[in-house]
């Protein structure tokens, strides 16, 4: 499995620097290459709004008609996204991250730190909070929004201590009978010397093994980019969700393209061949549920997205917490064993 440097991966979409959080910004100004028509309409609307404050003319009809056109255009673009375009939306720099979802849908939040052996890895956030009053353990990968934050969170690429913190917290959740919610969003486990020295493979493998038998419900949701073992390491559970425009792959499309075509420029073909979207993975029986996103992607309305996710998670928590633990474990195991069967 191969992980490209995040610098390279992001460079392929567009270079963005932003200092606001997705929560603060409703209509962001970053457009992907296939969103040029959306950018055009949004630009026109903004101009008209500006003009209407200067003069005493009523142009609300004009604005409304443009808004209609914008909606139609966004719908038509997002209805037919290619797998590669979905990957770009999943990596959108304004896409809500784990920390945004925690702010928007979790009450009474307490973050917990450290693996008790080496350190604390900011690429994984863990802690206890409440969703609709129910205490839950939440563990999520976090890419970081600002440049400084991205660096401190290593662009969401966890090191062994991140996965070991996650494991410690999940085992704690089992002891206190807290259901576990994981939010997956990573370009991959960190491919570095220190990572290898401290046993990144073992850390991931251990999580896979233990999550298969933890005696508490586990719900996993890919909120952005689910890259390979680094994603799966917090992705074994009873119910697997993907947000509509999130992506999940065994190797990044760039990595796959690099191996087969010897150039990252063929990443769109690789994305197509691997089937990296929620709809494809639902067809394959890998994931259970796709959670619809607001029109034009989660980043266009993070609050609405968080509300929808919260609603689904609450329902899934109700259902899974009602299941007898032995039954829950048997079903989880059976499901794991079935992967790939026809």
């Amino acid at each position: 499995m191969i992980h490209l440097s995040p610098f390279l991966a992001y460079g392929l979409t567009t270079a963005y620097v932003t200092t606001t959080t997705a929560v603060d910004v409703k209509m962001n100004l970053n457009y992907l290459s296939f969103e040029q028509d959306i950018a055009k309409f949004e630009g026109q609307i903004a101009e008209l709004k500006l003009a209407s404050t200067d003069q005493d003319v009523d142009i609300s009809d004009e604005i409304n008609s443009l808004k209609q056109k914008l909606k139609k255009e966004t719908e038509s673009i997002y209805k037919n996204l290619t797998p590669w375009q979905v990957v770009q939306v999943a990596r959108h720099p304004q896409r809500p991250y784990t920390s945004d979802y925690i702010k928007l849908m979790v009450d009474d939040w307490d973050e917990l730190h450290g693996d008790r052996h080496f350190g604390d890895d900011a690429a994984i956030i863990g802690g206890i909070g409440r969703i609709n009053g129910r205490s839950v353990m939440i563990i999520g990968e976090e890419k970081g929004r600002t440049v400084t934050e991205k660096v401190s969170r290593n662009f969401g690429m966890p090191r062994p201590e991140g996965y070991r913190k996650a494991l410690r917290l999940m085992e704690m959740a089992e002891r206190f009978q807290l259901p576990i919610i994981t939010l997956i969003d990573t370009p991959g486990a960190y491919p570095g010397i220190d990572s290898e020295e401290r046993g990144i493979s073992e850390a991931i493998a251990q999580n896979l093994a233990v999550m298969s038998r933890l005696r508490t419900p586990i719900i996993c949701t890919v909120i952005g980019e689910g890259s390979s073992g680094g994603a799966l390491a917090i992705g074994v559970g009873d119910h697997l969700n993907m947000l509509q425009y999130s992506t999940y792959f065994v190797i990044s499309p760039e990595g796959c393209a690099n191996i087969i075509w010897k150039t990252v420029e063929k990443a769109p073909l690789a994305a197509e061949a691997m089937g990296v979207t929620s709809s494809k993975l639902e067809d394959l029986g890998i994931i259970d549920e796709t959670i619809p996103e607001p029109l034009g992607g989660a980043h266009r309305d993070p609050a609405m997205m968080a509300e929808a996710l919260k609603e689904r998670l609450s329902k899934q928590l109700d259902e899974l917490c009602a299941v007898d633990t032995e039954q829950l474990l048997a079903k989880r195991y059976e499901r794991l064993m079935s992967y790939g069967n026809e």
Binding site: S195, A209, I251, C256
Partner: protein, 299 residues
């Protein structure tokens, strides 16, 4: 026969002749490390370790198991599990065609061979990766065969030994490959819960998704001398950190130093060492037995 004919090997004399097919292929092998010219059958007897420089050449999965298990004890199973092209994956070639080519090339249906046998009289299930089959990559068939191997060990209450040699998860089966990591890890965890030994021996190389699942979950993790194992390949790490990697990085000796493995086992000691370990872990007693003699290349 002249004196000249007696001292010069036939292979040299026949050089330049149009019909050289009388020389058996693979009879003389160049050591990739020290370039010594080695006599094939002798090299096989030495378990494909160069007698001149100690370089470890890769064993096929079959030769690995044949030289590991007791002669006459081997029973292959899980052959019914074959690869499935669920995605109809196609890049510059069809996955289906890559599979056929690999099958033809190796004589295996996929990259894992599974046997039930005995090690010095002690029953074990042993599996070995075939690196020549698409880089020993793990897709559905490898994951499923491994799982069935572990299930047999669970049913019979006997140990499982795995010899890995792999580039990782197979990208042509995409997420189905990724999920084999979760599947194999879950069945190993079940063995752990039941107190059945699982020994993982990493042989050159072990990377990616296999390293991050079944290869590092052994009660005992071991590696052959000099073998490379890690999560990310050296090229990827160099690209990411833009630094040269230290000498010996990700080699067995590095893994031992950093606590990832329990021991380095020389190939010639593999049977003895694992038998000794398993005897102590299971309370059984090993008996003197020989492994199958390595297959001789066709003369």
């Amino acid at each position: 026969m002249s004196w000249f004919d007696k001292i010069v090997p036939k292979v040299v004399r026949s050089e330049g002749r149009k019909n050289a097919s009388s020389v058996p292929e693979g009879l003389w092998i160049n050591c990739p490390k020290c370039s010594s010219v080695l006599y094939g059958p002798e090299l096989d007897k030495n378990l494909k370790v160069c007698p001149k420089c100690d370089h470890y050449m890769r064993l096929t999965a079959r030769l690995r198991l044949d030289t590991f298990l007791d002669e006459g004890s081997r029973e292959e199973f899980t052959q019914e599990v074959e690869p499935i092209d669920r995605l109809k994956f196609k890049d510059i070639k069809k996955y289906k065609d890559r599979l056929s080519a690999a099958q033809k090339d190796t004589g295996e249906k996929d990259a894992l061979v599974v046997m039930r046998g005995e090690l010095k009289g002690m029953p074990v299930v042993a599996v070995a990766f075939e690196f020549k089959f698409m880089g020993g990559s793990m897709g559905y068939a490898v994951g499923e065969r491994f799982t069935r191997a572990a299930n047999r060990a669970l049913e019979e209450g006997i140990p499982l030994v795995c010899f890995s040699a792999t580039g990782g998860a197979r990208m042509q089966e995409a997420l189905i490959s990724l999920m084999q990591m979760a599947k194999t890890s879950a069945v190993i965890e079940r063995m752990k819960q039941k107190g059945l030994p699982y020994i993982s021996v990493m042989t050159d190389p072990v990377y990616g998704g296999v390293s991050a699942s079944l290869a590092l979950l052994g009660d005992i993790n071991a590696a052959e001398p000099g073998s490379r194992a890690g999560f990310a390949g050296p090229n990827i790490i160099e690209q990411t950190i833009r630094q040269k990697l230290p000498k010996g990085f990700q080699r067995a000796e590095f893994l031992l130093e950093h606590g990832a493995i329990d021991m380095i086992i020389e190939r010639k000691d593999m049977r003895d060492t694992l038998a000794r370990l398993l005897a102590k872990m299971t309370g059984r007693s090993p008996v003197e037995r020989e492994s199958a003699v390595p297959e001789q290349p066709a003369a």
